[in-house]
Amino acid sequence: MRLILLLAIFFSTQAAALDRALVDKLGFGESDEKVVAINAIAASGDPRAAEVLGALAEGELQTSGKLVIIVKNDEAFDAASGDKLALPEEREDVVANNRLRGAVSAALAALKLLSPDRQQRLAALKELSDNAEGADVAMLGIVRRALAAETDPGVKPLLEQVAASLELKGGDREARIAALQRLAGSSSANAKTLLLSYIETEKDADLLAEARKSLRAVEGKRAWAERAGLAFTGISLGSILLLAALGLAITYGLMGVINMAHGELIMIGAYTTYAVQTLFRTKFGAAFDWYLLAALPAAFAVSAAVGMLLERLVIRWLYGRPLETLLATWGISLVLIQTVRTLFGAQNVQVENPAFMSGGVEVLSGVVLPYSRIVIVIFAAAVLAGMWLLLTRTRLGLFVRGVTQNRAMASCVGVPTHRVDTWAFGLGSGIAGLAGCALSQIGNVGPDLGQGYIVDSFMVVVLGGVGQLAGTVYAALGLGFANKLLESWQGAVIAKILVLVFIVIFIQKRPQGLFAVKGRMADA
């Protein structure tokens, strides 16, 4: 009984704290007065402030006679005190126009800054920093209080930035200088726009100089962030090119077979991934996130099998006739594309990322590295390492190198050259399948997937030098970087054209590629 009494007293004192004059202004005032009232109510930090402002936004705030009331489910409450009233007959809505709504949502967001829930605080900060009007100066008190209480390292920088933008609007001279200095530590795009607009309005020379200094600092940081992002996209594209070209480095680089269907083997790998994904979704929905682990060997196996079949049926008969091989494998690629079209339809299919590959890490404000790309960079490195080990440390690798260097001699010492050819071609095709599995995670999967990579992957192998694994790596990364650098400067299409023209010129200068084996043949 005493507890209830105490609670009642507590609530009534709290409820009474909302200034009736302000609430009246909210109900009856002009538009400008209402905005002032909204901000003042929010700034009071009263627990009922959110309720009243929310009611205004929801259209539940009404007036009856001289009283401002909240009407909810046919029940009326006094807006100022929160006391329940009899529902009056004569009521009028308090109309909230867009300007008022903007003010209310900013004010509510500012109130949420004090919320104990981290997600709510973050959402509120996002709202405040994205809001074109920005938070009203009246919120400065709340924001300062929130800042003093904030300890979370993920929230504090954002909050500091919002606080700084408010101090610049409403703080005194010292506060402004402090705010400007604090902004210098930021690297976000919002800080930059904030400083730019501040410089346009500020008259005070000292403050202006301080603002310029901060702007330079922010821009410097942003430039670094952008460069880091560019370097990463360069590495990312390079690793994709590397994956696409590694298989070709074996079939073309080591065996000398021009395989125009290489891109289609990549495409088959991607479609295998799709098939495995569909199987997991229908049969083992719980383990869906792990479908990639099953898809990798499947993609390798299917592409390798197709490749070995092709070698046995077609390519074997054309060894030593590279131009004919080129035409025949082009024909194979057409047949494979059409087969996939018949089986899966001409439309792109959806390959979903597993949950652990979606999202990304934000290394600096505005520079997000998607997990899928990071995984692919690591994956490309792993495939490269695996291939290197296979070629240098295993018996098959020894045979492949032997057959490449001197087929007749290898045959003489008992190497089954024909079988080695088949296995080597299968290996190259399987790696193409792995590339397809990786590419399915970042791009569209359709029957034409491979066509987009065939020119690029040949460029990588040719530029790197035939028969050179290291050359392939350098060429892929170099092309990736060059492409992205030029892209940031001239746009994607021009970048691509410039890279192609560069390669065409480069081949004329060094027909053997970057890392050619030195020889004394007249026909290099």
Binding site: L323, L327, V335, Q338, V455, K496, P511
Partner: protein, 369 residues
């Protein structure tokens, strides 16, 4: 044996073709200049002997392809250089002619402006530099052969001088046409972007879609095709042609004999590119459209298969191959669209595996038996 050509005792005529060959050309001339015009224009559409506009356009189109095939045979069949970028030269010739046709539209475009529609659309106020003088037919006709020729010269000069050959050469020609395709897809390049040029109204002041104009274009194409064949035959039967064949078979021996292969390769390469440009220029007014898709690497590879099917190093085989494959294509894409790619793919595979000398080689080996 009444033809003046056959009775001519000129050494050149006898060097090019024997009596049977000339007879075949005479038949082709009669079909193109007599049979087609009469059956298309003079015979009533209800008659079973009438040749419809569809067939005139189709055969006209394939004759353009046949010219490209001859160009391809010159460098691949005789000089051993496989180009995967011949579609580029074809398209450049087409674009040069297309510029003139666009200017001939005049104010009949959708926007009723002096500028082509796509330029109005892009809000351009004056013609880009590349369009200079493009309202003059003679200038565009010059561009038709000059642009592919100069590009081929510049590209070939460096490539052959650095002794880029074989598959390397094929791959960089493919990169070249791919880069050009990307360039022409851009609106800012100034050639209509994705859509290219289309909606032509007039050529040399006369409406372009009338049956008479179509027949004239058909006849001109036939004449140029036969001219190209004879020119190519003249080249390959000359001493220069024999050196080219020698370069194909043993380039180093030719070098050690004191010849510089670069000059010979460059000559035939440029001639080949110019023939392609000419074919493209005749193709565009008949088909009514040119867009960057013509430069796609896939198109250029298809050219090689026409020659491979017909038989490399025979010229006639190239023409035959172009007719066979493209005839088959237009038949299959209408009847069984989904099977065309299987069919084309199988042609590529089977002709390289089982028909190394093409249809012409097959016929020759039958004759020997």
């Amino acid at each position: 044996m009444t033809s003046p050509i056959l009775t001519a005792r000129s050494g050149l005529a006898r060097r090019l073709y024997g009596p049977a060959g000339w007879l075949a050309i005479l038949v082709a001339v009669l079909v193109a200049f007599l049979l087609f015009p009469v059956l298309n224009l003079a015979v009533a559409p209800e008659s079973p002997f009438h040749i419809s506009a569809y067939w005139v356009t189709l055969i006209g189109k394939i004759m353009c392809y046949a010219m490209v095939a001859i160009a391809m045979d010159l460098i691949w069949g005789y000089a051993g250089i496989l180009s995967l970028g011949h579609g580029l030269f074809f398209a450049l010739g087409g674009y040069a002619m297309g510029m003139y046709l666009m200017r001939q539209i005049g104010r009949d475009g959708q926007y009723q402006s002096d500028m082509p529609d796509f330029m109005v659309f892009l809000d351009w106020k004056e013609f880009p530099l590349a369009w200079w003088n493009s309202d003059q037919f003679w200038w565009c006709a010059l561009l038709v052969v000059a642009v592919p020729g100069l590009l081929a010269y510049a590209f070939g000069f460096f490539a052959f001088r650095s002794r880029v050959k074989g598959v390397y050469f094929s791959i960089i020609t493919q990169a070249l046409t791919y880069a050009a395709m990307l360039l022409f897809f851009r609106n800012n390049t100034g050639f209509g972007g994705n859509n290219g040029f289309t909606d032509f109204k007039r050529i040399l002041g006369t409406p372009i879609t009338t049956p008479e104009t179509r027949m004239v274009l058909f006849a001109v194409t036939a004449a140029v095709l036969i001219g190209t064949l004879l020119l190519a035959r003249t080249i390959v039967t000359s001493k220069l042609g024999r050196i080219l064949t020698a370069i194909r078979d043993a380039e180093q021996r030719v070098m050690f004999c004191g010849y510089n292969p670069v000059h010979y390769k460059l000559f035939i390469w440029v001639v080949s590119a110019m023939i392609c440009g000419l074919a493209g220029a005749l193709y565009v007014p008949q088909v009514g459209i040119i867009n960057p898709g013509e430069m796609s690497p896939a198109n250029s590879i298809e050219i090689a298969i026409w020659v491979a099917v017909g038989g490399r190093g025979t010229l006639v085989g190239a023409v035959l191959g172009a007719f066979l494959v493209n005839g088959g294509k237009s038949f299959l894409t209408q009847q069984f669209p989904e099977y065309w790619f299987y069919f084309l793919g199988l042609i590529f595979i089977l002709s390289t595996l089982f028909l190394p000398n093409g249809v012409v080689g097959l016929v020759k080996s039958w004759r020997k038996k």
